[in-house]
Point group: C2
Chain length 143, copies 2
DNA sequence: AGGATCACTTGCAGATCACAAGTAAAATTT
DNA sequence: AAATTTTACTTGTGATCTGCAAGTGATCCT
């Protein structure tokens, strides 16, 4: 456990991983703009550390040699359950106005969400996960 | 999620919570000696912040007026799933020599572990959780 | 060729951290 | 009752880390 915390025991690493996993972010620019305002030197440092830990990997985009695409590794994807619990706890106990029904649904369908995240990763599907949460492939409700 | 990370997005907070939850630690002294060596000022600061966030609460021990007993609140106990996933991930991907069978068992019995942690909390049972993991009340195997 | 974009790096002030030492209150020993 | 010990901290001090602004160099766009 302390091993895990040495890697992402800080305010930013897990947010980066979240953006990578559920928002489909790929590039330095996206991380920088989107989070709650991470400094560029810190972002660079975190990306370096996460890459060194084998959680993410970078590759240059073919169509644009400037761009680096960051991507989660298997080791990174395996953090999905952790992120989900973090999200659930935060929604339940943080004083956010999160839709309760959604959270409950997520709690009931943990395993399904995990496999959904994994599927997207395997298929390199970059569509954000957030808008459609619990209605993946079970009962197509309206909205 | 960023809310959660603001509270325990550092190297020590979650370790303190772990010690509280699975090792049955209660006092300043125990935290200080046990962790991997946290500085006393940092420990004091983290305990204060966790208390301010409503994750732990302190009460003086009757039998010894010097001692403060820290205890998880409901909000704190709800972190059990998060901690468990952290542990699972760490054992699987950190290069620790963790017993694989144990980890697998924990993965299969997530829900059971959660309720076990909760039961101990409700009954104020301070026995460490670690030695006996997956064989709680199902099939009493030998060791 | 000139400018914009991208992924960083550098410099610096201020915050945070680790380590050692000290303090106040309660308990224990003498 | 006085002296010592234990417990939970606080206080200093230097080192490290963070956040912000301003570059830098490579690559694209026109």
């Amino acid at each position: 456990m302390s091993i895990s915390l040495e890697i992402f025991g800080d305010r930013w690493s897990l947010l980066i991983i979240r953006d990578l996993m559920v928002r489909g972010y790929r590039t330095f620019k996206e991380f920088q703009g989107a989070g709650e305002g991470i400094a560029t030197n810190i972002l660079a440092d975190r990306l370096r550390k996460l890459a060194a830990a084998g959680i993410i990997a970078a590759e240059v985009e073919e169509s644009d040699g400037r761009k680096l695409n960051y991507r989660l590794t298997k080791k990174g994807i395996d953090l999905a359950p952790l992120l989900l619990e973090l999200l659930i706890w935060g929604s339940r106990h943080g004083d956010t106005e999160a839709p309760c029904a959604l959270i409950e649904q997520m709690e009931k369908n943990r395993a399904q969400l995990h496999s959904e995240v994994r599927r997207r990763w395997e298929q390199r599907d970059p569509t954000p996960l957030i808008p459609r949460f619990g209605n993946g492939n079970k009962s197509p409700r309206s909205e």
